[in-house]
Amino acid sequence: MANTIDNKLLFSAKNIDKHYAATHALKGVELDVHEGEIVGLVGENGAGKSTLLKIIIGAESPTSGEMTMHGEPYDPKNPLDANANGIGMVFQEQSLIVSLTVGQNLFFGHEREFSKFGIINWPKVYKEAQQVLEEVDISNINPRKRVNELNFATRQMIEIAKVMNVTRQAGDQKCLILLDEPTSVLSETETKNLFVQMRKIAAKGHAVIFVSHRLDEVLEISDRIYVYKDGASVGMLDTKDASEIKLYEMMVGRTTSSEYYQIDKQSKPQEEVILEASDLGLAGIFKHINLKLHKGEILGVCGVVGSGKEEICEVLCGDEKPTSGELIIKGKKVNFSSPSKGLREGILMIPKERLFEGIVRTLSVQNNIALSNLKKLSKFSFVSAAKVKKQALHWIDQMRIKTNSPKELMIQLSGGNQQKVVFSRALASECDILILNHPTRGVDVGAKEEIYTLVREIAALGKAIILLGDTLDECIGMSNRVIVMKDGLITGEFDSGIYNKPSQVDVVSLMM
């Protein structure tokens, strides 16, 4: 990390204001980026990071304020305009078209550069695509391959290659690349690879803006860090002066401590085994899975993406049928054909992709809470509206869900509150076993703490929990016991009591 602040100023934004109808999303935001620099942006959800990036890339226009690029005034009309000025962005959501080939995706939106009379010269496209891929060290992929034949990590690398292409096209001009949560779907190795690429880019004199919820990553890769809160920049510091705690303080205005995971509240599991898997397997994904889950226990499952941990969750909750082995719940052998069967046996999953799998946006809060226990709220399959409402009020109070009324639509709630609704639903179902698949994903720091408290409380009630943490730290911090998976097999198991938490290094060594 060279001291790059002395380099030439590449991009600067001054006094950026952005109003949406009634909300003031950005309040006079400042941002300077120098050539060869990696700048980290951190802040809670809704702090304004994404809005700022959208303005820089030209997807939205600022209400007021000025931007310069290469010292010239910069006012992009659309992303293509931004690209022409040497600014490219990797979006948070996957932006590849899976039915098209890698090469077609790489030059998507730039086809005209390869066209004569509107007809695209595909051989030329693929030749250049190969070069682009080589530059990000994934030259083993045939650019003629369709994206839907590739795994997620590779797709992410292709996205980055796509943006890198912008820098290539810029030639001598220095570029700015925006990365919005690029690591959320990457495994640790892939993240490392990404960081290598980012450094490469920076070494050439280009600049990178890096946005991530994972402070450790930001601290690792960036040269300088901007901290945003409520639509305004609350500070800028050199990475060498920063630490996670300091950043947290700036972001939320309070200190986090070792009590973050409320380890002192960790309860002792009971003796009774509530779930037992023996030799469970799903062809080609995982195999020989033996585990026992006790009442009141939080069992953490660690592993990289693709280790099979996600699929274990799916099999346990009934979403997927195992191809071998057996599952015993409360002493009874079960064979689920769908999650509804699982629910009947008292097992329910809180899914990872909240928006796609967790909530029904078009329904109200009360109906979302009642999703999993409609039968209990009804007589002769007639649902009691009063009971639905009463239950919702109970949980809104209990969970401190911020909503105007139980009839408010789900889409109106913030991410953290939506997640609380999902938790309420799970608790209301009175299931004894909960599978928490990344329960804090995409939730801001404040809400995270509340969720941790909640998980502790649930466990204390004697319910059993299987936890897939958003970070390794979280997984170890929360669990009573941790199992480690690699390539579809359990490679290790650690006791994780209050005073004998395993070290991350030990766990990682079994994951990789």
Binding site: P79, L80, N83, S95, I97, G284, D319, K321, G488, G492
Partner: protein, 340 residues
Amino acid sequence: MAIRNSGNMSITEEFAAKIKRDNQKERIMKLAPVIVLFALILIFSIVCGKDFASLKNLVAVLNQLAIPLLVAIGLTFVIMIGGIDLSINGTVGMAASLVGIFVMNNRFTQFNLGIGGILIGILSSVLVGFLAGLIHVYLRIPSFMVTFAFMYVCKGIGLLSYSGEPPTILDPVLAELPKKSFIGIPFITWMALIVLGICILIQEYTAFGRYIYAVGTDESILSAVGVSVKKVKVKVFTLAGLCFGIAGALAAIRLGQGQVNVGEGLMFPAQAAVVVGGTSLAGGKGGVINTIVGVLVMRVLSNGLVLMGVNPYIRTGIEGIIILVAVALTVARGAKVISK
């Protein structure tokens, strides 16, 4: 802290085997329409013998292919962006009626515009496609409803245009066209094949073609690179209108008469043909080439059933079952798959 190494190899092998199986399945699924087509050809060849498997019948099938093919191609683009077009019956009928009126005919001598008349017919349909696209995109009305309304509007325009007595085309060139053929394939089919070629070119070799796939997959991708989704959609509906218009014009020439009825009964078979070919109704998957297979399946099926002399009452039923089977073969299964 037991580390289990045993079976580590086998899971990778298993995975490889699974991927292989999946790929195989996918390949079979991709080929399913072709398999269905060949199965049908085989069955009819056996049952009907020479009546079916003859050059003459092949030409007849090709001859009948033109209009369903054109209509299905236009529809393919619309379905690829996840939309639907119900206006087909109307637009084709309208284009055919207007072509009949604006060329030399036995009723409206004052409107003889020759080739210009054909252009008017086609343009009317293009215009309707364009309008439908505009209304769909800018008023945010589902394409289903917009095109449903336009079906009535176009049918009405067609009806109104000749007020009950369809004009017979007397233009000597146009009257001769349906009889002309080149290497055994009728002229009208050639026209359709040329349009087909152009559409394949558009789909595979132009930026617009790529954007169609993108719109069907995820609209946000396009705005991210600064391409207007709205424009792409309007263009797609306009292109579909062009295909329907050409289909209408060719239908009028083929029948030697401009009547609104030629559009009748084209829409549902076209939808079936597009989906049977393997284009996904959800959008983003498939394409014009798939549609060729789909249209062939439908054409061969009805041709074969006619030759077999199957009771027409049962024929539609058999067609329905074949559609179900053909599509069931091409869709992904599994408890987790969501199909709407």
